[in-house]
């Protein structure tokens, strides 16, 4: 699913517009695999798989692969529908610069959920 992140986000003008003030690097960990995501003005400029040695990132969202699988279902089970839900119930860990994450929370949440749907811009989000 993570492989589709850049193409799906970048093909969604509404989502790119929402993130137009954001240029950042963050980390998604899927089990043992780490993915470094670079955002440039709302576009996903790159998704690079680790391992990394001292690579910089602002915040990291870490969860076992089975959790991300549940999160990316079209209708996730209760507790797996949102990173805050998963964080509350201990399914994932949200770490690092929480400030920048929260400043752009809706954008980041929409980016993370993008693999779940064909295109967010196809619904009323646009």
């Amino acid at each position: 699913m993570i492989e589709q992140l850049a193409s799906k986000v970048n093909a969604n003008p509404a989502l790119v517009r929402r993130g137009r003030r954001l240029s950042i690097e963050f980390l998604i960990e899927i089990g043992e695999r780490a993915f470094h995501v670079t955002v440039e003005q709302g576009r996903i400029a790159g998704v690079e798989e680790g391992p990394f040695i001292m690579r910089a990132w602002s915040f990291a969202i870490r969860a076992p692969e089975a959790v991300w699988e549940k999160f990316w279902q079209p209708h996730p089970d209760p507790g797996f529908q949102d990173i805050f839900a998963m964080n509350r119930f201990g399914h994932c860990r949200v770490e690092g610069d929480i400030n920048i994450l929260l400043c752009h929370l809706r954008y980041v949440k929409d980016v993370l959920a993008t693999p779940r749907r064909p295109r967010i811009g196809d619904n009323s989000d646009g």
Binding site: H75, P78, Q81, D82, F84, A85, R88, C103, L105, V108
Partner: protein
């Protein structure tokens, strides 16, 4: 000729805790008053679907008011230099002032989220006045699920943040149109109001010491919570119902934290039997 919705909005001034507040409320229907309390940082529009449902309005006078600082209710004069902090005492006083002003006889009071919390105290202290209470996404004990000390930081003081914060509380099955309308209510909230409501919800509403005192023969208590709610979890609701002898907990499938506005069709299927049950007891 366009078709007008049956909802009518009015204003009145309520004296709450010794201070006048200009309050907006809307209503539809006839019969037993069903007074609805909105969630934190939102307003009475959350109940618009209920007010347009003849299965409800044929027998209930559905009413919802905006708390001071919310929706179309005005913040009190001098607000510009105040920090808004909702307290348990003020919240209860506001509801009672509304019931008094409109001379509502034995209403059913139904609140969601922080409204679902305050109905517990209303039932403890004012059971004689009410026919029943319904707590949606309600419990008798705060259970904060995130650090909110930073939520009045200038970086976050905008609607986008509040929407991002609560967006996951809607169930994935809720229709996009109504999910986003529900979130729009959070875009509309005044600066600092959501955090001010959290003062009540997180720190000033632990009713566990008294909730067992509710006489549910006099004032039945129904607690209805969506399975996707991670703010007020189904477990928290069930624990609350376990503490209140006679209280009924209902866990709603494929529903989140805003049942009446995020998925009105799913919600009414759960609510109508509860309203039937309340009416059957009178």
């Amino acid at each position: 000729m366009v078709e007008l919705e049956p909802i009518i909005g009015r204003y009145l001034t309520l004296s709450i805790a010794g201070r006048d507040h200009r309050i907006y409320f809307e209503e539809a229907g006839q019969g037993t008053p069903l007074v609805c309390l909105h969630t934190a940082g939102a307003h009475s529009s959350q109940f618009r679907h209920l007010m347009c449902d003849p299965a409800v309005t044929d027998r209930f006078r559905v009413m919802a008011f905006d708390l001071p600082w919310h929706g179309k209710s005005t913040p009190p004069p001098g607000w510009q230099d105040e920090e808004y902090l909702l307290t348990s005492d003020f919240y209860v006083a506001a509801v009672i002032a509304f019931l008094d002003a409109l001379e509502l006889d034995k209403p059913v009071v139904m609140g969601c989220s922080m409204g679902g919390r305050v109905v517990i105290r209303l039932a403890v202290e004012h059971s004689q006045r009410m026919q029943a209470v319904i707590g949606l996404e309600g419990s008798d004990r705060p259970a904060p699920w995130y650090d909110n000390s930073w939520t009045d930081h200038p970086d976050f003081v905008n609607g986008d943040f509040c929407v991002g914060l609560v967006s996951g509380l809607c169930a994935p099955q809720s229709p996009d149109e109504f999910r986003w309308e529900t979130l729009w209510h959070y875009y509309q909230g005044g600066t600092g109001v959501f955090k001010g409501d959290m003062h009540f919800f997180r720190t000033d509403s632990d009713y566990t010491a008294n909730s067992a005192d509710i006489d549910t023969a006099l004032c039945p208590v129904y607690l209805m919570t969506g399975e996707y709610d991670y703010s007020c979890t189904p477990e928290a609701t069930i624990r609350t119902a376990d503490r209140i002898p006679g209280a009924e907990a209902i866990i709603m499938k494929e529903v989140g934290h805003f049942p009446m506005s995020e998925n009105p069709t799913a919600f009414r299927a759960y609510l109508l039997p509860v309203l039937d049950s309340i009416q059957a007891r009178t």
